[in-house]
Symmetry: C2
Subunit: 397 residues, 2 copies
């Protein structure tokens, strides 16, 4: 017998992860995953960049903990443009995916019992990180315009004093919504007034279907730590993410990263730096990804409107996810086995629920399947809904 840390008791297992095993069956059209579309990952351009990087001896050696200089430069320039104020390379720490940035942030900022505000429904990876850090979690609901910052403001006025407020500000996972500009400005102001930090988790911001990416919360104040990632715009296997924020936070994150994994791969950082700095290629690549993904989003929502007219569906303006709300009485957790039997997978809303229960909701990823498969997936979902649940078998009595 080996005794494990009590820390782990507080971390919710990922229902999504168990589910992904089921939806990996070849006969299942999966809307459950959160993976970028395989056909949109620029594998050949990455191979070119890898070959170029590997002419440099530094590409196979240990690197600086804070990250490769030229990657920090290109991220700093990008964030300066996004936020409308100068962010220098010293304000950037490269992490092993932005999930590591979340984990390091939680560990450097939180002591046992510190209050963290999360959105409900929540990005499960953030929930787990804050649970592992021993945080006391409070939730704020979302509506079609993102986090209900007015609800947060009321709670702050009533005495709530969080250390962190976490938000997936743009093209929310799982809810599909984007925080309105006015709310962003107000959230940054509340952070200044009440002394908390906003963690603006933004892996999807560059996947806006129309027009420029949303102006970050970090454009409106300095008590914001922004997390970015190459996973959804270049490729997940680079495991390259980054964090920008106050110098004191960057220094602490860098110090903890040193004993957490020493540094992120110099090779995959060099590949990411090459692709992000090649703006002609990057613009064309992102335009293509956005156009294809927008087409898939349209195909999915059109199919839902036609084939599941009773279901409410967010209208995605970017990102990868759509949130469905079934009419009262449908329990999506009960629906799921019938859906899988009928060849379609999704994630029940309850997997993302913290205080809310969300029994009638589902997260669907429209990014990974071609349009014709999305339509067929919706058709199968409709069939599962209309099929009657099997009557429970009562032995004897």
């Amino acid at each position: 017998m080996i005794t494990l840390s009590r820390r782990l008791d507080d971390v919710r297992g990922s229902a999504i992860r168990d589910l992904l095993t089921l939806t990996a069956r070849p006969d299942v059209l999966s809307l459950a995953g959160g993976l970028p579309a395989a056909d949109l990952l620029p594998r050949e351009r990455i191979a070119e960049a890898a070959a170029a990087a590997l002419t440099d001896p530094a590409s196979v050696q240990y690197g600086e903990t804070a990250g490769l200089g030229r990657l920090r430069d290109v991220v700093a320039a990008h964030e300066t443009g996004r936020c409308g104020r100068t962010i220098g390379p010293a304000g950037v720490v490269v992490t092993t995916g932005s999930q590591q940035a979340l984990d390091l942030l939680a560990r450097v900022l939180l002591d046992q019992g510190d209050v963290v505000v999360v959105e409900d429904p929540v990005y499960v990876g953030a929930l787990q990180v804050f649970q592992a850090a021993g945080a006391a979690l409070l939730t704020v609901p979302l509506d079609d315009h993102g986090m209900r910052v007015d609800v947060l403001a009321e709670r702050l006025a009533a005495g709530l004093r969080p250390r962190l407020v976490h938000t997936v500000s743009s093209f929310h996972n799982p809810r599909g919504v984007t925080m309105a500009d006015g709310r962003r400005r107000r959230l940054a102001g509340l952070a200044d007034r009440y002394g908390f930090l906003v963690v603006e988790d933004d892996p999807y911001g560059l996947l806006a279907f129309d027009g420029p990416p949303p102006v970050p919360v970090a454009a409106h104040g300095e008590r914001v730590v922004r997390l970015g990632s190459a996973s959804k715009i270049l490729a997940p296997a680079l495991r390259v993410g980054w964090l920008t924020g106050p110098a004191q936070v960057c220094a602490a994150v860098e110090r903890l990263k040193q004993c957490t994994d020493l540094c992120t791969s110099a090779l995959t950082q060099a590949i990411a730096a090459d692709l992000l700095a090649d703006t002609t290629w990057l613009d064309a690549h992102l335009s293509h990804v956005r156009a294809v993904t927008a087409g898939r989003a349209r195909a999915f929502t059109t199919a839902v409107a036609e084939l599941l007219p009773q279901v409410m569906c967010t209208v995605p303006t970017g990102g990868m996810f759509c949130w469905l709300e079934f009419p009262g009485g449908t329990d999506t957790t009960e629906l799921l086995p019938r859906a899988l039997a009928g060849g379609v997978g999704f994630v029940p809303g309850s997997a993302f629920a913290v205080d809310a229960r969300l029994p009638d909701a589902a997260r669907c990823c429209f990014a990974s399947l071609p349009s014709e498969d999305l339509r067929e997936a919706v058709r199968r979902l409709g069939a599962a809904v209309s099929r009657r649940a099997p009557r429970p078998f009562h032995a004897g009595t």
Copy 2:
């Protein structure tokens, strides 16, 4: 003002890291680093493997948290051979370097105040991880045959009940020594008797200069978690390490890794799997690395014997490090600035000391410099020793 977690207060800053900045000056021959020799990293073979890996769409996507199947297979086969009992792929978790394995292990196994035994002098990366996890640290000294397991046994008999005992069993960093076989057997037996886990941190085991690598502690018992790494045998930039151990520990580590960085790079794992499975190439590569490194070790120790006859020096039988003990009265922390001024860097023993003070010791890495530079480095070290320390300036009185 941003308040940071109290966790960080317990983590020792790495003096080595600050030092590496100084020793990076082009006029300094550095014995301070712990980097594998750049000229021995198989960059061209890695480029071949990268090109091959990138023909597979899976190489750019997210992967399973526990690691790439074929990498776990090859590690399991290797560990089965090393340990003399069957270790299946399910008993392997791939990590982002073995430093991440240490961090995850500490977090899944330790609660605040749990007792951890470390060697003194210690691998600083392990010390930091256990400090970050809030462990109560106790030390056991080392001698020329590795950890003084007899001292540990006495303390256990007297009531000590650690959760973990950490050891760099082979070619110790920083001490250069290897734990004797009898001690390994005894340590595994103590783990069974007293119910603790041994963390056998073994990045250097395959770098044995003569004969086969040492038989692992894990060959003698099942309460051992073994950590391995591609960093010292292939390349650090792959950021590929692994952990083998009891199923319960592997499952917990995998679960925490999920919310720590989701997965290690599928691309660098594919490269590592390719190189480790190519046994003809690997054997030739490791033979070459061992032969060159053994030659450097000989050049270094020969130069020390000739040019610093008053200094005691471990005779390295593998790995990368040599431990020097200067005659009484020499303080290596005071010696360092004079050495740097004279163009040679090393790490003072005090950087690795926990309870011991070790003022007269120094860690020297012989692996990274060609033999002629090593001789020159020792000559400069000798000059720094014989140069008189500048007399302190006393103003007025």
